[in-house]
């Protein structure tokens, strides 16, 4: 049948002829020349993207470490030290962000947004956490962006990044965290604040949970106002935020109801096993 015929045809396929045809392609034809330039253009773009991804990962790691550091903060004497150390760390992160800004000069930021977005969100989380510890309030996106305006530190930097070697003007670079990245970073912050709440109770601090509860509720209200008008990622974080808020509110409830009965050092235990306790009581 014709099916069998086709199979045989493929076996006899003149591979030699095909190779010959390919060698006949003129490597300096107009088409090949344009493709060579496409190769260059694509490679340059990919390289830049990779550099930005690496920077973003560094930013994420250092920001996360700052957050861990800040969790160790208490009103004890070394609190001041911790805050100072966190500032040093965040300055290091900002230096990386400056590199990002330099890479993005003359580029459309949105083309590379996906490369740097995770890092920036983590930075927002870290810097807003530090701000909350210092001021008990939420840092604004404007405030964040003010800290992300950079000037050239030395002549070498200026000549490396400008195409005009005679341009002696000091250069400024800035990076603007987008509202969406800011929102996502703040949403992640609430998770850290929830952890702060639980741990502060374990430390015997019974004021912080209530402050946090109020603060988180305000953030939650803000997010509810935005509702579903934001991109999908924001709505997803809203769900986690709700859970964090619930945990904090439950903590406050437990403190209020049982705070006076239970010795401070056992309070932390109360929160990890509180669901057990509630179940037991209902069993009675």
């Amino acid at each position: 049948g014709s099916g069998g015929f086709r199979k045989r045809k493929h076996d006899n396929f003149p591979h030699g002829q095909r190779r010959e045809e390919k060698e006949n392609v003129n490597p300096s034809s107009a088409l090949m020349t344009s493709f060579k330039s496409f190769q260059l253009e694509l490679d340059t773009r990919h390289d830049k993207y990779e550099r930005l991804v690496k920077l973003s990962r560094d930013i994420t790691i250092e920001s996360k470490r700052t957050i861990f550091l800040l969790h160790r903060f208490t009103s004890a004497p070394n609190g001041e030290e911790i805050l100072n150390e966190s500032e040093v760390k965040l300055d290091a992160v900002r230096r990386k962000i400056k590199q990002v800004a330099q890479e993005l000069i003359g580029e459309d930021m949105y083309q590379f947004h996906r490369a740097v977005s995770p890092g920036l969100q983590e930075y927002v989380e870290a810097v807003s956490f530090q701000y909350f510890i210092k001021t008990r309030s939420l840092i604004s996106v404007e405030e964040i962006n003010k800290q992300l305006i950079f000037t050239a530190e030395n002549r070498e930097e200026t000549t490396n990044t400008t195409s005009n070697p005679h341009d002696k003007q000091p250069h400024t670079w800035s990076l603007k965290v987008t509202p969406v990245d800011y929102l996502l970073g703040v949403a992640d912050l609430t998770g850290e604040l929830m952890r702060l709440c639980i741990s502060s109770v374990g430390n015997g601090d019974i004021d912080t949970p209530f402050e946090l509860s109020q603060f988180l509720r305000q953030i939650y209200d803000g997010f509810t106002f935005i509702g579903n008008t934001g991109p999908y990622e924001v709505s997803k974080k809203l769900y986690t935020l709700k859970q964090s808020l619930a945990k904090v509110e439950n903590a406050c409830y437990t403190l209020k109801v049982r705070g006076s009965e239970i010795p401070k050092h056992m309070l932390a235990d109360v929160f990890s096993t509180k669901t057990e306790l509630i179940d037991q009581e209902e069993g009675l």
């Binding site: 045809k9 396929f13 003149p14 095909r18 045809e21 390919k22 006949n24 392609v25 003129n26 490597p27 034809s29 107009a30 088409l31 090949m32 344009s34 493709f35 060579k36 496409f38 190769q39 253009e41 694509l42 490679d43 990919h46 459309d108 930021m109 949105y110 083309q111 947004h113 509202p179 969406v180 106002f225 935005i226 008008t229 934001g230």
Partner: protein
């Protein structure tokens, strides 16, 4: 909050224009599909001319699209028109191929569509969208090669074959990442193979000699 709603509004506006563009693209495609059939072959120059007229509409629509968002945020909204733009690249490349059997350059496509070739100058054609459109052309030409034979034109497949081989060599120069462009490119080898088979079928039957000998 204001930022987010404003963003949504812009996207709505963009979507509307893109829909209009897609409609025009469909019209051009239907027009050009006609070349695959027997009588269609004779009409090719006329079809190309008509297609170019349609591109006039496209130019107007793209002009309108440009006004819907801030010029420096092209990539923020890029996803919305990426598909239709790739489609338009393919259609432009198809027209140019039917007219001159050459590969339309990026600059030429930009001119047909009434947009810039470089990002610096505004609403432009992204290189990856250009390349995607060209790859779609390859598939269309594979189909055209087959239908040419059916319609009795034995020389066109040979010319298509030369063209596709050169195109394939060009693409092999590129270092692509594992994204949608790469996947589309992987399809190119099947197009190449199909056209080779057509040429093979013609050559073993001596039909290609008929075509070139006249």
């Amino acid at each position: 909050q204001g930022v987010l709603t404003a963003d949504q509004d812009i996207r709505e506006e963009i979507r509307k224009v893109v829909q209009a563009l897609e409609q025009t693209a469909r019209e051009i495609l239907t027009l050009l599909q006609g070349v695959h059939q027997g009588p269609g072959f004779q009409d090719i120059p006329k079809k190309c001319q008509k297609a170019r007229e349609h591109f006039g509409t496209v130019r107007t629509q793209l002009e309108s699209l440009k006004t819907k968002f801030p010029a420096d945020q092209y990539y923020r909204f890029h996803e919305h028109w990426r598909f239709v733009l790739q489609r338009l690249v393919f259609l432009a490349a198809f027209v140019v191929f039917l007219e001159s059997e050459t590969l339309v350059t990026r600059e030429a496509v930009a001119e047909i569509l009434g947009i810039e070739a470089d990002r610096e100058r505004g609403f432009h054609l992204d290189i990856e969208d250009y390349l995607s459109g060209v790859l779609t052309l390859a598939s269309e030409l594979a189909r055209l090669a087959v239908n040419s034979v059916t319609a009795g034109d034995y020389s066109r497949p040979l010319r298509i074959s030369t063209f596709i081989n050169e195109l394939d060599s060009g693409f092999r120069l590129l270092n692509l990442k594992n994204d949608s462009l790469r996947k589309r490119y992987d399809g190119l080898k099947y197009d190449v193979k199909k056209i080779e088979e057509v040429v093979y079928d013609l050559s073993i039957r001596g039909l290609n000699k008929e075509a070139t000998g006249g």
